[in-house]
Symmetry: T
Subunit: 147 residues, 12 copies
């Protein structure tokens, strides 16, 4: 079982700036924890981060075929990137959207996600644990479906 783990713009700075909001783990540490938990569950994670909208679209197009599901934290793209949305929809794989901070308790413009209605679910405000929670739910769902 293969899961794509995608992070959008500015998330490469996790753990380095604004730890009060985003926590003190770096993106690398989060990716490793997620990958470790995946291994325990018999799954494999393919991680990717980019500040370029087009690169995320390219990555989804290229990698989705060989993958079973997607975990994505689109960062600021959450709120306007219809190109990323279309790429996810075109991929046709179960997708869970993750946000480290609680987007529903921040500025008004962060409440709306253009990805949420085509995702299977959304996890928001659970810090780095949100990625693991998404992983467990996604793998659980896929195992059930594949029976």
């Amino acid at each position: 079982m293969r899961i794509l783990l995608i992070n959008g713009p500015n998330l490469n700075l996790l753990g380095k700036r604004q730890p009060g909001i985003y926590g003190s783990l770096t993106l690398k540490e989060i990716e490793e924890r997620t990958a470790k938990r995946a291994a325990e569950l018999g799954a494999e994670v393919r991680s990717f981060q980019s500040n370029h909208e087009g690169e995320i679209v390219d990555f989804i197009q290229k990698e989705a075929e060989g993958a079973d599901g997607i975990i994505i934290n689109p960062g600021a793209f959450t709120h306007y990137s219809l190109a990323v949305r279309d790429a996810i929809e075109g991929a046709g794989k179960p997708t869970i959207e993750v946000h480290i901070s609680n987007i529903h308790g921040r500025e008004e413009f962060r409440h709306h996600s253009v990805v949420a209605d085509i995702a299977m679910g959304q996890v928001s405000g659970l810090g780095w644990r949100g990625y693991v929670a998404a992983l467990e739910a996604l793998v659980g769902f896929l195992q059930e479906r594949n029976q």
Copy 2:
């Protein structure tokens, strides 16, 4: 460590009606799975369900003092019960909001939660696994904070 697990109106019918949307586990089974996982993590769960807004407010007022955190699926109250919101805010305990189905992908009026901006986080669309995910994140957060 003691966690309140609260479910709002109509959730007593989980597993009995509309399994296509809400899954086939009953509320009792979900409460048991959550309690079992809590036991593994060294925590205890106090479960409660009601179709009555006032009873949920009463419960939070009475039980919050002796508890460390709250997991709540307010059901339809999510979208209008400011009384439940005020009770949670008054309790002053870390709270995670759970929805079995993905509220961001359903009717427009289900996108907005009057609880979300005072909650620590929100889990939506992960089915019964969402309760377990919320539990793990909440216990993890509390253990870290208590160190």
Copy 3:
């Protein structure tokens, strides 16, 4: 054939207050006229009124299984009780919404019903006759469908 006849908050005062708006028949008299007409049509009516949202949800959950259809005047709950809406939707029985006065000709906030789009139909402004009209249409529809 068994029909649930549900009335929401303040409707227990029908005929006692504001007769200019709501007419001079008491709720009891309306229930009797509806029951009498039901008997003529070979149906039976189970009446219920409450000022408590939770009690109406409880009633629908408990009684819907043994019933063939629902006639409901949700009173003020019409405009905000998503819990009642979810209970009706979960019940899965043909439902007609009744309002004694014409809600479309009163204050702006009374024009919108959170129940209307899941109901089979809506009768508004026909006074006590609206209950009888709803009953006749509902029984007619059920008889046709059961053939």
Copy 4:
């Protein structure tokens, strides 16, 4: 007692197109059933249908004086014909608005009626029975008022 029964644009095709939404009775059959029930109640029905807004205004202007009440299904005019609204308001007769399908459960633009706030009431979603329900309520109301 004389009741005007007016049907707006495209309703001349009732029973011929989209029976899933509008039922299988033709307009003529509905008019006959309504007229028959009127006769039983000691009333007389004057039926009229047009696809032309101006003709409906003309008809109301000419016929309202000799009539006691109006039953109207304005079809698509429901949502924008202020000319029909003004004609009804000018006529000064008790009016009940009828819709065969439940307009509150269809497209957004069908939820609003420019006639509803000057009508005595509205019947929506009861199929052909809605016309009979409106007739009975209107005749009942007029008999009471005339006593």
Copy 5:
């Protein structure tokens, strides 16, 4: 002269939680101060608090007939309970709405009251003194009217 003094959900915790916003007097102390001032003015107060919307509706229906006026702090119900609004309107007694904190200076959703336009007046942000101010104005108004 008899005045109903009604407090809505979570107000039973006054003086116990969030004193920075709501002050340090308990609800009991506020009720006593109000009752004492009423006695000085030759009036009597009947106090009631509930977290249950339906109980407040029940209370108003039962007690309003024997009362001369109502002072109500609906708490969170202020912003959505049309059932409480209808109960007050049905009672037909002069009513003053009280809020301990200044609702016009808090979250956006607290600015609107569904009760305000049927009340005689509104007192907001005067702390416990707001209840006494409302009482004096209400008794003064009733004495003048009764002359």
Copy 6:
């Protein structure tokens, strides 16, 4: 203790026009009743009325330094005079906003006050008694704070 009592445009006509809405006391009589009550409470009132926005701003700028609090009925300026709002905010004294009639029950444009969110509180619809109620609350608050 010194309180500023400010009244905005058209309030110089109190008691002379539209007594049905604004009561039959003149502004002078209201100012005297307020001053008399202030004397009983050991405070002094400085009264001012103007139809000119700029004069009210001038008055607040000049008098606020030597005053302990402000009671203001901004009349029509309530709804748009940001200049008066800025003057009050700049003065930095506890301020209570008073309206003789209930602004929440009148025309839509009177529901919003540009002053309310920087005021300590608002009294609306208590007639001339509203000024006295504001005075008592303001003096009580100042005495407590000065202890």
Copy 7:
């Protein structure tokens, strides 16, 4: 000089219904008074009334070429008939819009005119005198322009 005087739906009933709003002169009398004043000013009036949107469009198309200006009271068409608007704009003649009652003080939906921004001016609420006022202003404008 030739002026078109056009009246829209229901205005043929002027003087016959709702004289409280529309006055007691009939349309014929208004047309005569306008024509008489036109004769004094050396102009000629061509009057027309219809309840049919298409007939008004036809009339403008046919008659505009031989006319110098238009006075139109579009009745209910004021608020939605883009077809009449386009006909007026296509005609390219100075046009004054007249309303017998003050549309800015009636229902919300009557405040907006789809004709107003292409008209030279609008006269509202002056009763039958509004037609004469429009005529005088239009003739005065045309005489000045033709010099």
Copy 8:
């Protein structure tokens, strides 16, 4: 018969600036033409212009008692001065609002008048003739009413 003719801010510059929009007559010339026409109709005009909102309120308060009607072009105050609105409403005299240019065809914010719904009527876009038209209609209306 005595008519107040009031002009608001910047209208003292009529005929001096932007003649393409406002025409080439000065305010003095317009006042004289209006006064001359009033004399012919047996009425007298009292003219006033100010750039100060408070002065217009003062003027209406002082002069309205001895006057029979008001013609006012509030200039920019049209769109926000609730103080002028309240002064006019308090005066209780028939009032006609005049605008030299067609406010309905200019910038969006000029379409709405806070005075229009309490005025008897509005004349817009007829240039200086609008004042005369308003005068004739107002005098005609008053003569009829006084009979």
Copy 9:
């Protein structure tokens, strides 16, 4: 293969007025060019124009049954005629909407079409060529479907 070619209000003036916007071909010339191209493609065109909404509804009802598809330029009806929309939807034939000028680049109110979401497609801003483009696409689609 038979195609209905329908043009709405004011389009009979094509080529005669505002050629800068609508081009210099008359409607007749456009109809002929469309018919000629249809003949080349083995199809036949039935042309119709009316300024009357009701006539267009009548025409669609009568002619749709014997036709294979519809090309319609509803003119101003595009933006509000739900009656025309319902007629097209009832007809159940593939329909292409044509606009000579680019409605998306003109006034705000021309951007919205009440027909567009039930049409197969929309061609806007291609001048008279838009009719031919629509014809070619419609015939192509029908030929493919009929194979």
Copy 10:
């Protein structure tokens, strides 16, 4: 004559995914059909596709000078890429916007195009034929202009 043919994000997958919506032709086949038709008309097409917003801006900046017109299907960029819009506007060449499916009949957010008001026209819902239709219209327009 040289025409730029630009396709935005995800359109490189045409013919490979969701053929029910987008048809079964690949982008390469569409480009070839368009180029072949261009050759017949004596024009030449320069094709380009990218998932990167910046690359499309670069391309337009570099190629527009040597081109006579632009045909663009901006894909998801249609709805928000003001950068692409500005590039097109800066290029100053006649541009036609093409959409394979009917954007006006899909999700709400697809109805608005930020390019449409600066384009010469828009073709939507004609499948691959839309590109050819745009080409023909564009070449026709350019030939006429160049005469």
Copy 11:
């Protein structure tokens, strides 16, 4: 070269109140610094401050003719004084709007300026330096234009 430097309500208190927001320079000091920089650039500044809207309108009307440009900080009038807007527009001189604090980062109601779209530019959030920056840009622009 002569520049008007106008400051609106409450700005006479600069440097005396809320220095955290508005800085510690008094208005006099700012005017002097601006005048000194103007002298260096060969220009002269005419300063004016008022809390009265009408006085600002008067000042602009009287002084604009002899001036070359306007620098204005309208204070609270920025957000609603259409009278000041009309005076500036009528003056026809290049105008730069200055705000000491960043109005775009403060309360919602301070984001909108009714002056901005007729000004040449706006400087916001640069403190007292904003006046100097505006002066330099305005003088630079005028010198260039006058060459």
Copy 12:
């Protein structure tokens, strides 16, 4: 002292296209003038321009640490790029937003900036001088803060 000077999409064409709106200086000339003024003030400028959103995010991430402040003209990104906004916010350096033309006086969509509320200030409509004005204010602010 080191200042980043960032320009967004299409600004590389400054001086080459639309000089009527954007002036005749090239971006290079503007950068040089800004750099020269910086040298006079003892500061250094690091210039950057890109049409790619991702490159601007990369640049800010890499360069912000070693810089003291940012001047940015985000071009079209101003209105939607939350990714650029997040990068600026994450950098935590004082930032001034510059626009060559007055964005508040252009199309509606240019009025809103997603960057403005986190910037220190905004300069709009001063042409190339706006960059110099921003530089002077930024350096002045930094020098003051560093004392």
